[in-house]
């Protein structure tokens, strides 16, 4: 991380003059192949993606003649604060005046392809580590050009010049970056730049306030939902109450009588009512009569599905991990512990209901939406319209929450909006209601885990047999060829098949049963770890209690060769005062889990009374390597704890007679302030490899709380949500 990078070794760099004046820096890094879409590979392989795209917006930063520094975000701001973190990387190397930084979401273009995933995407808690070099290099390169321009103007050697706070300094003379921008843009790009040593950082590592704070406090921040221009209409789509259902017939008569309703059109996902405003569209949709062919899923029932899952867990699954002979080792074990864990379908329910504005022109299409996956949305829109992807201009707006829902390989809400605008022959904003969102699918899949562990005479595990049953979020998507190997969706078994506990046991097996079901499923903040973290850390707690050992000491013994787990675990335990007394009626639970390259441990303090658990405090420790902005890191820990805990306490999506039984926040319950514990965050001072921060604090919270509930009551929570299980 701290070696100065020689850009020319691994990047192609171009600098070019911007028509409007100023300097544009754009470059690309050869794609890593981890999540690469097969289609994307064909389109871009072997080509310099900047070759045909420069100049204008295809760049990472612009220096204006007014000394403004406009940073283009290759990723989407959805709360995680990359609107601030990525500019920090540029400003550090550029010695920029922080007050002059402006930020914009980049368009969808090859220059902004994820350095590791190969498509333009925000997800996997990857933005900061994946851009750590690219954005710093952009800043350093720009600084070098500005210095060179100043050297030319002053007739001095470049290495005699210094930079500070948006100026090049030469003795007592100083020239602003704005004054140098046009001259810098005419210079030849340096072959390499040297990045600062970490000891010289002034911005990286310092708690820095959000740049998007002011506009989100005074109501002027523009989300997709807020797009308005003359002639724009609002649509709501009547969709089948059962997934996979189709329109048999519809009668738009009454809907068209509603004042403000302008059109009713059929689209692949249902029937769209297009109106002057949301209220008219909503009333129109209520008046619309649709006869549905509910199709094959009209009998869907999640309770029955769970029974099927239970049977499947007992059958032979596909092997996701295997070592030694777990059967034989179990037979010889001093004792065996067996448990079944069940986790429900979950909706992401971001605060901003899904929406997408589409304006189709003769030679292209404009789309305004909050998306985490510009590449697939752009491709899907282009396909529907018979256009080339580059004819589809994606305007990424602030996302009112994402949590994975707005990164859909199926591009569902964008595709639908394109169909609506196409059918209407007019610019349309397609808006989902909250009910549409909660009933509309793309859930975290329900999972059942069956775990059987053999303990030796010393109470330590000697055999681990694990079976998982659930839908794959990857099957059927363009990611399938890359992310499913030998029938195993890596995201289904992450956190189990690669668990340090499991791998540390000589005899283990992890089996997966992938269920084919019609319920649309998707990554939900922390993906597979959202269920595996709960199962693993609850099970380890069960084993510790069975062995009569302290849950912290038991974990320490099992993780003795995993220093980063241990560092987080020890810091959380120390800060929580693990062995110190608590107020009467309050009990502790602990959990530690690695995900997205980071290691998070949490201690939850919980009391149980009148059949309900109250979480008083969560002490959280993380080792994510370098923390670029410690305050936004803390905010992400608080956020993930709220998100994971709310789900663990109350959230579930269930199906009966083919239909989702929940509809709005009164029955799809999420965290509210009166259930939110105090959160304390501690950061492990670490020079290890950088990991993510958006998701890794989700997995430990449910087990830490469930383990505290066990300490308080002796009742082991094996099914989420906790709901009324303590009544």
């Amino acid at each position: 991380m701290n070696a100065p990078a020689n850009i020319s070794r691994r990047t192609f760099i171009k600098a070019t003059a911007l028509v409007a004046g100023g300097l544009v820096i754009a470059f690309s890094i050869p794609y890593a192949k981890r999540f690469l879409l097969p289609g994307a590979a064909k389109e871009t392989a072997g080509a310099d993606p900047n070759a045909s795209k420069l100049p204008a917006p295809n760049a990472f930063l612009r220096v204006g003649t007014d000394s403004s520094i406009t940073v283009m975000l290759a990723h989407s701001e959805m709360g995680q604060s990359i609107w601030t973190t990525l500019p920090m990387l540029i400003a550090e190397e550029l010695d920029a005046d922080w007050s002059k930084i402006k930020v914009e979401h980049a368009p969808a273009a090859p220059a902004y392809i994820h350095t590791a995933y190969g498509i333009q995407i925000t997800g996997g808690s990857s933005t900061t580590w994946s851009e750590f070099d690219r954005y710093r290099q952009a800043g350093a390169l720009t600084r070098a050009l500005l210095v060179a321009a100043a050297a030319q103007e002053l007739g001095v050697a470049a290495d005699s010049l210094k930079t500070e706070n948006g100026f090049v300094l030469s003795g007592d003379k100083k020239i602003s970056y704005g004054e140098l921008a046009e001259a810098a843009a005419r210079l030849e790009t340096p072959k390499a730049v040297t990045l600062k040593e970490p000891k010289d950082w002034k911005i990286i590592g310092k708690a820095t306030k959000r740049l998007d704070g002011p506009e989100k406090i005074n109501g002027t921040a523009i989300f997709g939902q807020d797009i308005h221009f003359d002639g724009l209409m609002t649509a709501m789509v009547a969709r089948s109450p059962v997934f996979g259902g189709t329109v048999k017939s519809f009668d738009a008569g009454a809907a068209k009588q509603v004042k403000g309703v302008r059109n009713v059109v059929k689209v692949p996902s249902g029937v769209a009512v297009i109106a002057d405003n949301y209220w008219a569209a909503k009333l129109g949709r209520e008046a619309l009569k649709v006869e549905w062919d509910l199709g094959a899923n009209a009998g869907l029932d999640s309770k029955k599905m769970l029974e099927e899952y239970r049977k499947l867990a007992a059958a032979q699954g596909l092997s996701a991990a295997k070592a030694g002979d777990s059967k034989a080792a179990l037979a010889k074990a001093a004792r065996t512990i067996e448990a079944e864990y069940v986790l429900p379908y979950l909706a992401h329910s971001p605060m901003e209901p899904l929406n997408c504005t589409v304006k189709i022109n003769a030679d292209g299409c404009e789309i305004w939406t909050g998306t985490q996956m510009q590449s697939t949305d752009q491709q899907a829109a282009a396909k529907i319209l018979g256009m080339k992807p580059e004819q589809v201009n994606m305007h990424t707006m602030f996302l009112g929450g994402g949590f994975g829902r707005r990164a859909n390989p199926a591009a569902d809400f964008v595709s639908e909006a394109v169909h609506v605008a196409k059918a209407a022959g007019a610019p349309v904003k397609t808006v989902w209601s909250r009910e549409d969102d909660i009933k509309g699918g793309y859930y975290r899949p329900m999972f059942l885990h069956h775990v059987k562990v053999g303990l030796g005479a010393d109470g330590m595990p000697v055999a681990w047999e694990h079976a998982e049953v659930g839908q794959s979020i990857i099957a059927g998507t363009p990611f399938e060829p890359v992310m499913i190997k030998d029938g195993i969706d890596a995201t289904s078994v992450e956190g189990v098949a690669d668990s340090p506990y499991v791998k540390g046991i000589a005899n283990h097996s992890v089996a997966l049963h992938t269920v084919k079901a019609s319920i649309p499923v998707l990554w939900w903040r922390s993906v597979g770890h959202s269920h595996s973290g709960f199962v693993m850390e609850s099970m380890i707690d069960e084993l510790a209690h069975a062995a009569g050992k302290d849950p912290l000491e038991y974990r320490r013994a099992l993780l003795k060769d995993h220093p980063r787990h241990l560092a987080a675990l020890n810091l959380a335990a120390e800060k929580a005062g693990w062995s110190t007394p608590l107020p009467k009626g309050v009990f502790r639970g602990i959990a530690v889990h690695e995900s997205f390259g980071s290691f998070v441990a949490q201690v939850a303090e919980v009391s149980v009374s009148k059949g309900a658990a109250k979480v008083h405090r969560v002490v959280c420790a993380i080792d994510c390597g370098l923390s670029v902005n410690p305050d936004s890191l803390k905010a992400q820990m608080e956020s993930a704890i709220s998100f994971g805990l709310g789900a663990a306490l109350q959230s579930e999506i269930t199906f009966k007679d083919g239909q989702v039984q929940q509809s709005n926040f009164h029955d799809y319950k999420v965290m509210r302030i009166d259930s939110m514990p105090a959160v304390e965050v501690h950061i492990v001072q670490s020079t290890e490899k950088m990991g993510g921060v958006g998701e890794p604090a989700v997995p430990p919270v449910a087990p830490a709380v469930a383990n505290a509930i066990f300490a308080a009551t002796g009742k082991r929570i094996r099914t989420l949500p906790i709901g009324n299980q303590l009544a």
Binding site: H228, M351, E638, S642, N664
Partner: protein, 151 residues
């Protein structure tokens, strides 16, 4: 036609009387700081003040606002308490995605207008109708205390 007084200015609104204030604000007056979150008074994103009282504008028809004053996030800085709340929100760096924050700030301002030194329990009671999926709740509590200390 309904006449609405929004942020001190009269607006003639061509809308049915049962249209919720939220949609008059957003789709007719184009004041989009007030957000749509649930349409059922379940999440608080649409909170505005009607004669100083916090209401859920997504379920309050425009007809009920006749002769009353609507205050939205766009104008709350002109209120002494609102200004202190916004300053505290900035100081504590509360926001994340930001979508619910207009409603949070309007609810917090109403709380502090009626209760100058709210306890955590007061805050939880007054703010539990405002959902934040990003979980900014610990900072909301801290910011309300900070604003109370400045007032």
């Amino acid at each position: 036609m309904v006449t609405l007084n929004i942020n001190g200015k009269e607006h003639q609104i061509d809308a049915p009387e049962d249209m919720p204030i939220l949609w008059a604000l957003r789709d007719i007056v184009h004041l989009t700081g007030t957000k749509f979150g649930c349409g059922a008074a379940q999440c608080g994103a649409c909170t505005v003040h009607l004669d100083g009282q916090p209401i859920r504008s997504c379920v309050t028809p425009v007809a009920s606002a006749a002769g009353k004053k609507i205050t939205t996030i766009e104008d709350i800085h002109n209120d002494k308490v609102g200004q202190a709340v916004q300053a505290a929100w900035s100081e504590i760096d509360v926001v994340q995605c930001g979508y619910c924050q207009s409603g949070q700030i309007m609810a917090a301002t109403a709380l502090l207008a009626s209760n100058k030194k709210p306890t955590d329990a007061d805050i939880d009671a007054a703010m539990s109708g405002n959902i934040c999926r990003c979980g900014t709740y610990p900072r909301i509590r801290a910011a309300i205390h900070a604003a109370a200390n400045k007032l």
